[in-house]
Point group: C2
Chain length 211, copies 2
C-alpha cells in the first residue's frame, strides 16, 4: 500500500466522468498521475456498478504502477473487488465502523465532515482522515451541503485530530486562500479533470497553493 | 438459511418505500410476512446507504423470525453486513462471479434477465436463480427495459436451467395469465406493498394465480 498522503502538502484528485470533456477516464487519470498527483479518488454518481468496476480495475492498475493511492467513493463492494487502498464515505453512507468491518484494518477510510462535531465523531468512529468542507459552493455534487466557508477549516487546522483534506469549490484562483487557512491537502474535481491541459493545470494549482 | 423458495409456487415480494402509502417499511414487511410471504427482497433505489443498512437490519431480523428468505437488491456491502440470504443484481450491476466472490458459496445470487441468451449466460456465471421479465410494462423501475411479454417466459418455462422468478407489471388481474405460461414464482412490487389491505391482497393474488 502506498503511503497515505493527506499528511503532505499536495493535491487530491477526484474523478467525475461528466466533467472530463468527453475524454476517456484512463487518459484523464494518466495525465493526473503523470503530473505527479499521488491520491486519486474514483467518484462517479451516475454509472452502473458493472461499469464502475471496470473503470476501477483500470485505475487500480494505473495507480499501483504510479505508486499512487487509490480511493473509491462509497462503493465498498467495488473497493474490495479491486483491492483499492481505501474508501471515502459521506455522513449518510454506511457508517465508518461498518466500512471498517468490511474493508479491514489496513484500509484507509475517509469520511466527509461539515462541522467540528462531525470531525470529533469521525475520530471516535475510527476514520483515517476527514474531508473538511465544502469550503466554497460547488456544482459538482447534487446533494451537497451548504458551504461551510473557511471557519470550519480554521478549526480543523487548529485541531488536527485527524489528517484532513479540504474540499468543495477549490480552484486555482482560491486555493491560496485555502492554504493560508491551514489546508495542506486539497481535493479538486472539476478544476483538474475538466482542465484542457491537465499537466499545466496541476502545475498552476500547485504554484497558487504555495504562493 | 431458509430454503430457497423460487422452486415452489408462490409470491416473491419486493419493497419500494415510495409505494407504501406512507406506512413504515416495518409495518408493510410485517403484513407481508404475516400473510405467509416467504421471500422478501429489499429494493430501494433512492435512499442513502446508511438508511438502507438500518432498514435491512430490521428486515433481516423480521425475516429470520418468520423463517423467510431475505434478499438485498444490488448492495452487496449491505447484504454482507446484515447477513442477508443473498443478493439480486441486474445485467449492468457487478457481475455474478464478482458477487459470488464477495458473498460466498452459500449465498443466493439472483440475476435479472430479459432474453434466453442472458438466461444461458446466467447459468454459466453461476447464478442461483434468474428474474424473467419484465413480463408487462411497469412504472416501478426507472431504468427498466422494454417488456418482453410472455414469449421469454414460455422459453424459461420450457428450459428450466435455473429456478426463475417472473417479474414486471404482475398484478392480481394478470397473474393467472403469467401462471398459465408456466411461471410458478411471481415477483410483485406495487401490487403488494401498495395494497391498502396487504393480507387480503396476498390472498387475492394467490387465488388469482391458481385460478
Amino acid at each position: 500500500m502506498p503511503a497515505f498522503l493527506p499528511n503532505e502538502t499536495d493535491l487530491y484528485a477526484i474523478t467525475d466522468a461528466r466533467l472530463c470533456r468527453g475524454r476517456p477516464l484512463a487518459d484523464v487519470a494518466r495525465a493526473l498521475l503523470d503530473a505527479g498527483v499521488r491520491i486519486l479518488q474514483y467518484r462517479e454518481k451516475k454509472l452502473k456498478a458493472g461499469k464502475m468496476l471496470e473503470e476501477c480495475r483500470l485505475l487500480r492498475r494505473m495507480t499501483l504502477e504510479a505508486g499512487a493511492c487509490f480511493i473509491v467513493n462509497d462503493h465498498i463492494d467495488i473497493a474490495l473487488l479491486v483491492e483499492a487502498d481505501g474508501v471515502h464515505i459521506g455522513q449518510e453512507d454506511l457508517p465508518v465502523p461498518e466500512a471498517r468491518r468490511l474493508m479491514g484494518q489496513q484500509a484507509i477510510i475517509g469520511l466527509s465532515t461539515h462541522t467540528p462535531e462531525q470531525a470529533v465523531a469521525a475520530v471516535a468512529a475510527g476514520a483515517d482522515y476527514i474531508g473538511v468542507g465544502p469550503i466554497f459552493a460547488t456544482q459538482t455534487k447534487e446533494d451537497v451541503v451548504a458551504p461551510v466557508g473557511c471557519a470550519y477549516l480554521d478549526w480543523a487546522a487548529r485541531n488536527r485530530a485527524l489528517p484532513f483534506v479540504a474540499i468543495g469549490g477549490i480552484k486555482e484562483h482560491n486555493i491560496g486562500e485555502v492554504a493560508r487557512h491551514g489546508a495542506y491537502c486539497c481535493a479538486l474535481v472539476s478544476e483538474l479533470v475538466g482542465a484542457l491541459d491537465i499537466a499545466a493545470k496541476v502545475a498552476a494549482v500547485r504554484r497558487a497553493m504555495h504562493a
